[in-house]
Amino acid sequence: MKPPSFEYFAPTTLDEAVALLAQHGDEAKVLAGGQSLVPMLNLRLARPAALVDLNRVTGLDYVRAENGHVVIGALARQRAVERSADVAARQPLIAAAIRLIGHPAVRNRGTVVGSLAHADPAAELPAVAVALGAEMVVTGPNGERVVAADDFFVSYLTVDLAPGEVLKEARFPALPPRTGWSIVEVARRFGDFALAGAVATLTLDDQGAASDVRVALFGVADRPVRVPEAEQVLRGERPDDDRIAAAAEAARAALVDPPSDVHASAAYRRHVAGVLVGRALREARERAQASG
């Protein structure tokens, strides 16, 4: 099980990387952490003619707080983000999501931005990005542009990146005050991709009603999805158990065509999505109340 041949480039600046990617177009792949790409190469399921390795580009491994956001550069390893004090203080949901990804050796090498650009619909971080309304900073031959997470994830392993473009950083809004959060999933084994998962944040106003609710699901469509149908049930309401149950039911009903595979059918994913939305909202509520 050996990878096919490819041309290998290790640029030291982002401009150089963009130029190489533009030059090779569809034939090139970006190599960052490699924890998804290299297995596909070894299995010969991917055969790029060229690999543009970002690992020698300096100054891309940052994780920092900036203007009410947590900003994560293309080469920040998942493990570093998981341990970041800025992340813990401002957006703990990211660290919690990372702890559900694979295993330490995978997170040591894998990057947060790489996971977003790979866009596995069952992955945790894209769903967090969608739930939080993160911004994707894309750089390419024509300069930089910023894409909303909701628009960035197009379909299975497909994102809004043109040939020559690189996802340079992701900006996650910090958690507002009086906000609780949760990420829960069902996976076959610890660390596996989720059969289904839910992300929720819940902001309470002075009366204890939900002033803001965000719910996103992963593993249940060809991309991570926000679930406005569930959010609506709670917005402006007190998030008691009955309301949350109704939101969960709304999430279940909103799912169009969940995937089926050897591990679970569409029916299972639909059922469990509702269960997980309920659990995520209840946990987010407890955290919001505790942050009082």
């Binding site: 099980m1 050996k2 990878p3 096919p4 041949s5 490819f6 041309e7 290998y8 290790a10 190599l31 490699g34 924890q35 290299v38 297995p39 190469l41 070894n42 299995l43 690999l51 390795d53 690992n55 493990r79 694979g102 295993h103 330490p104 050796a105 995978v106 040591n108 090498r109 084994r189 610890f190 660390g191």
Partner: protein, 155 residues
Amino acid sequence: MKRAIALTINGVRVEAEVEPRKTLADFIREDAELTGTKLGCEHGVCGACTVLLNGEAVRSCLIFAVQADGAEIMTVEGLAQNGQFHKLQQAFWENHALQCGFCTPGFLMSSYALLQENPNPTEDEIREGLSGNICRCTGYQGIVAAVKSVAGSAE
């Protein structure tokens, strides 16, 4: 087209010309002739090929040797010093943490990295920390016991 690279493995400099597609695992086994690092799946699941890259545990089947140019690598062969077992090797021996031995190098390296980061893990932390390595012989009982037995002890 081959490229010249130079790595330090267990403190020894190793230079070779390699194709970019050669994995770090194959480089360690073939070019550096250190066959203690094993290949169990070559797609990043089993953990048998775990080594330390600049001090952090990684799967050497998912990194190309050219990417490790200039890096410091530590493999299972680097654990014992001056003919003395590392405390983890001794603990694996005493706790029957191996049977066929094929996964053992990967488990030793993952355990080493785990204890570097968290010298006093709980049993749950040990199990989670080693959940990226697969053993088919021991049911993990001896391995968890071995790591537990050295947790909290000084280097």
